[in-house]
Symmetry: C2
Subunit: 172 residues, 2 copies
Amino acid sequence: MNESIIYEISVKSFTKGLNNLVKILDKAAAHAESKKFSIDVLLNARLYPDQFHLIKQIQIACDTAKLGVARITGKDAPVHEDKETTLEELKSRLSSVIQYLETYKPEDFKDSSDRKVTQPRWEGKYLTGFEYLTQHALPNFYFHVTTAYAIFRHNGVDLGKRDYLGEMPYKT
Amino acid sequence: MNESIIYEISVKSFTKGLNNLVKILDKAAAHAESKKFSIDVLLNARLYPDQFHLIKQIQIACDTAKLGVARITGKDAPVHEDKETTLEELKSRLSSVIQYLETYKPEDFKDSSDRKVTQPRWEGKYLTGFEYLTQHALPNFYFHVTTAYAIFRHNGVDLGKRDYLGEMPYKT
């Protein structure tokens, strides 16, 4: 059952988080419209001068998700060129990554926990797939989703924890 | 191996995140000292008037960690009364939860994935331990750690992604 667990904590977590981001973007757009300012103001907002702006936060959340699953399964992820500047383009980017994640099946994660994951800047060093997923990809993904949320919150968009966590699969 | 995986993604993730928070607090304190203002200013900072201040973000991160592992293993977590107002008290709270997490062993998570987790406000509904951990506790934990980080960043503390992620267990 190992591969099912890894599938759940990667594909399922990323997919849910990206879907939540789509709804958060829609709320931000509705807020901007109600206050009669352009959503572009929020898309270019940041919490500090040398922090990435909102668009980049979402681009990195997307990349962390797609590369997270691709690297631990040994597959190639689709390339995105980070050219988004509008709300629609950002939502399209999110949608494209969500669709990519949907192509994965639990079987794809059969050897993922022990797979050696490396990157050029690691100079020959590696992490196991499990380490990469749990100590890098997952915390990094939630970091950028939360930072996007925080930028909107700081700018007055009415968001709550439920927007970030999404629906819970409660059972009776 | 199921219980080892659940142990790793709960106890290990929470412990690492809380240890990172201790170091982030120390950096914030050093920043305040170098700029000759009280760290209390940062501990009471928030990104928006109706958002929790930094102290509360850390208290919730602590609670999410301790209750996350307690609820999925069916144990009782220690009670903390949320009375912290100083840096030292906050660090002591973090230290207490880190020590509590250290009492857990992989065996404690044997039945955790399927355990029914419920709370009074869920009105009789439940989540499985695995759902609670991956869709509630983990994303919620990273949310509050990241929000604490964001509050400091917004106030000029020189933090980077490495402070948030902590050390990676690179191998050669």
